[in-house]
Amino acid sequence: MKNPEKTQLVIHVLLITATVFFMLPIAWLTWSSFKSTRELFEHPWPPRDPTYINFVNAFSMMNFLRAVANSLIITGAVVVTTLFVSALVAYPLAVYRFRGRSFLLAFIMSGMLVPSQVTFIPLFIELKILGLINTLLGVILPQIANGIPLAVLILVPFFRGVLREVIESSRVDGCSEMGILFRIVIPLSKPAFIFVGIFKGILTWSEFVIPLIVLYNEELYPLTLTMQVFKQHYAGVYWPEMFAGLTLNILPMLVLYILFSTKFIQGLTMGAVKG
């Protein structure tokens, strides 16, 4: 191409502008959370007189550790169970031949087409009958159900990719079907499990509406709901604490993401491009 150096310059100017657009709100939030109320209202730029007391206050006002514990319990339970159940569903669909197999697969997939808002009302009624309103289990179970279609969609082609001969010969060696699934098929499909695990993990950690509908006891709130309630309670009063609270919610996640970003993006786009 003509004048490659000039082209590179234009490319980098555009990309740096875009990067600033994506990073500026996060940077602004971070530096603002080190400001006092007075300085917050004086100017939007980095603090001249930074203080970390906002974080100490936010930490206790939000009951941050309890919220983290709730989020960890919910996310852990959802991700592990989704993967386990989906593997049990995907294995027969991928390996056995039986009547109605493609119908069953299509039926499970159709779950992905239903917008989550459609399910909220029946879900609430169902959980009420089961006595699961205001329990962590009531938050966990619906999210497992939501996750199964996508997980099965990703796992089935991976399971099909495991060579028939490998499965047959293990059967001849006397390995049980469960043994084949857990000792051979699952280890060979590790990338798919990592992809589904990360994807479902982020979705569960981010989930807001299901806890909003199911829980009314603040002790059970996950981080997302805790932060929103914190914001609603103290709107217009405890600005520095709210800024620090949001930073506490966002920044650790971003740091974790940046540490693993290359693998992370690869893992996420792998599923989308191949799928």
């Binding site: 209202f41 459609v118 909220f120 993006i265």
Partner: protein
Amino acid sequence: MNPTLIRLVGLSNYSRLADDPYFWSSLTISLILTGATLIIENTLGLLLAVLVSQALRGRRLYNTLIFAPVVIPPIYVGILWSWFAHKDLGLISPLFQFFSGEKIALLGEPFTALLTIIVANNWKWIGFAFAIYLASLQEIPSNLYEAAQLDGANRFRIFFHIILPMLKKTIIMLSVLITAGAFQTFDLVYSMTEGGPARSTEVLPLYIYRVAFFYYDVGLASAMAVIMFLITLSVSFIYLRILRGE
């Protein structure tokens, strides 16, 4: 919501729906948000992917930073942008003041509130489209470009006649995901404006939630949910038809 007290009412929920102005306004707002996101996310996501794929240095850094907002939960994105757009605290207001001389409460006016929500939603999701486009671009064999260059094709012809047709499948798949995602936007609006000012940003999911859990009108809310399902379903079918039609 007592499930034992079921009384069949025929289609009356749907006729009530047709007469409900808030249903129509919230549907319109959801469609505007979805349409705008579809256009912006596809265009800017692809543009950034092409730029990064052509950059000789710093690719990994751009990649990481542009994708970063994708991992932030939408509820936090909403809170963050509601403050970022705040008249006295935010960073947008002083930038605006620099040009026009006045501070602006972006979330206080119907038009700018919806605009801010659209920007915030795209801020979160452009990185997703970007990453998928970048991965698809890397699947295109490079000898294709070289051959086109030797034939004297310029940059724009290469883009429109080689890259774009090769990306057709990705564009359609991504559009299905964006449509479904944007049409269901709830958390972001809930935390930014709660539908205000004067219901000007009340998207359909938010209205359904309100009707079901605040007005306790489960019949009307369910009818809206069914309409929503039908819209999502038909949009998916249209995309599938386009994909099969090639």
